[in-house]
Subunit: 209 residues, 4 copies
DNA sequence: AATGAATGAGCCTTCATTCAT
DNA sequence: GATGAATGAAGGCTCATTCAT
């Protein structure tokens, strides 16, 4: 998106996303954010009152940006749960890995690892809805799962997805730059789907072989 | 574990681990670290030359501390790969979740998500060795895997483990405090093992059903 | 007295009196004054051009307010000078001590101790007229006084009066809250009159005993 | 006193006295104080922690400077009370009017008119001792005075003295520059003594003539 | 006539760092 | 070998003010 001439307020939120994502809350300076947004230093105080409230706005903007694109498909009532799981994983991997708005994802990851005041809102507005979608699918695949089990299944799936965002630098170092660059979204998504399908089916089959 | 009278240098490294882990690099102040270590402000400069070099030392100390405890078992030559995988996962989950030296793990996680100068060394000395152990096991379980596939399998396993450290606050918010507290290391480790075994076996069985 | 809906300009002057009196010129903020006056921030600039010119207007308004109430009596031609002196002192003490419009007196006192651009006008319009009244009385009581002497007498009288305004916090601390509260305007005025009468009569009697 | 090269801390206290006296607390800037003291901006934080605590120190230094010079004479046991009153007044007028350390007196006057956290200490350490000396003299001159009366007498005397400090700008405007410059400390002190003696003696003689 | 958006200067404070001892 | 005094740079924030409307 990032048009060149939005309103000062929007430019500020966007610049804040970038700089907070790059440097973290403490290391990001209001002055630098304003410079990148091409507004006066006092604008932060004027629009948001505070560095902290600017941060919260930036995080909110980031998660709204992430949640929108790509959107979760609206499945027709009869869509088989395995298909929905495959779609879900593909959307999530795309959101994490794709190089559009890398600042937004980065900011959210920071917030998840190092929660601040904004975390509660992010979880409530962004993460929980997705989590509920996933749990809905899982409940259908494993009807007899209790709450804890379905959470563990969900974390196993999301863990596989998130590692590509949260530990990306490490992954690049481990695989080497070339192999890392060769990784495609579709490849990752298909792998996670197949792997997870195996895990779920094994659970349904009754555990140890 | 935090003896009262170590050498000033060690006290400094330890205090640095704690404060860097709690607040991050930028928000941590040299003065506070020195205060907690009960040394003079100039000591950081004297012993390490720099805030940044103190940070690197703290990260190194953290990963040396974390790699030791609990140690990876030394398997006898004939140990079946599934058993070694189960052990590997249990050790990793324990290292991530258990609340001994939480500062050390926290610091390492920060470094993985937000690589600084210390990252290369952390990967080389701490992460790659573990990664090689895991890939060794996987190569044995899936002899015909190419490099990319074995990496993807490894990431699927480690992703499931790491999410409990890197997204812990979110997990707690999602499950609720009580359910979160009820989660036990053994439970998590067994789940990840079974889930991953299903994933690996499905791959070996030839993919889509 | 503080009607709810005057003209914006008047509301501004009034709010300025209060806030300048409470905090002093530098510590008073144009924003706060505007907030209390319920007008836009730009109103100060619009109506007065400047924070400083608003201050001058506030001081003028304060002294015009203070000079009126209570008014100096209009003595009939034959009123004995001692009676006029007693009245004069009572009016002055009342103006200083009484708790009506405390902002106005406070502002004037500030201006006397810490002269700004407004001081010359305050002296010309408010202080000198009163001073002339007093000197007229004193000239009558001590006809052979030269200028310096009559000034010294005037300062001795006004000094006794002003201390109750300018050093009020100290007086309260010295006497204690209770004794301070028990002090009545009439009591103070009578004391100053009697004390001053003694001083003046002694001078007329020829000084040292 | 004001040597050219004292310790940074002392230079700071002295510069603070001057600038706080000239501009008041809010309008005085830490930067300007440091510039005048020829120290770094951070020195205020280092030595005093705070602008406010620097202010308190400056006020304390001011009153200690004032109280020392000129000192109150140490009267021999038999000194007649009138002589002691004359000395007391002369010392007080000298402290107020003399042009040594004008900053110190100015600062104290500000504090008396606009009390801050420092006021209580100033009253306790500086003002009350002097007030007790004066009340001791007055009790001897008017043995039958109750507390309130002796306070009123004391305020009448101190009011005459303080007006030359607190309202100096107004006095200069009223008398004109020349007459103001011609006023000598001795002249003022003698006048206040004679005037006050008349006031006290009249009271002892039984009030109205 | 009157305003809300936006500004640049300056505020106090804290920071990592160094120097003389 | 180790320290306390002192520094310069930069931090977030608030201020009086202006400009387009």
């Amino acid at each position: 998106m990032a048009a060149i001439a939005e309103s000062p307020r929007d430019r500020l939120t966007e610049a804040a996303q970038e700089i907070f994502a790059e440097r973290g809350y403490a290391a990001a300076s209001v002055r630098d954010i304003c410079k990148r947004a091409a507004v006066n230093v006092a604008a932060v105080n004027y629009y948001f009152g505070d560095k902290e409230r600017l941060y919260v706005e930036a995080v909110k903007a980031a998660h709204s940006c992430i949640s929108d694109e790509p959107p979760m498909p609206e499945w027709s009532p009869g869509t088989p749960p395995w298909d929905r799981l495959r779609d879900f994983i593909r959307v999530m991997v795309t959101r994490m890995v794709r190089e559009t708005n890398p600042h937004a994802t980065h900011l959210i990851m920071r917030e998840m690892a190092q929660p601040t005041a904004a975390c509660i809102e992010v979880v409530r507005d962004y993460i929980r809805p997705s989590a509920e979608v996933l749990r809905g699918i899982l409940k259908e695949l494993c009807p007899q799962c209790d709450d804890e089990e379905s959470y563990l299944l969900g974390f196993s799936i999301m863990g596989q997805v998130l590692i590509y965002k949260q530990s990306r630098p490490v992954i690049r170092l481990l695989m080497g730059q070339e192999a890392f660059d060769a990784l495609e979204v579709e490849r990752i998504a298909r792998h996670i789907y197949e792997f997870s399908r195996g895990g779920i089916e094994r659970r349904q089959a009754g555990g140890r072989a």
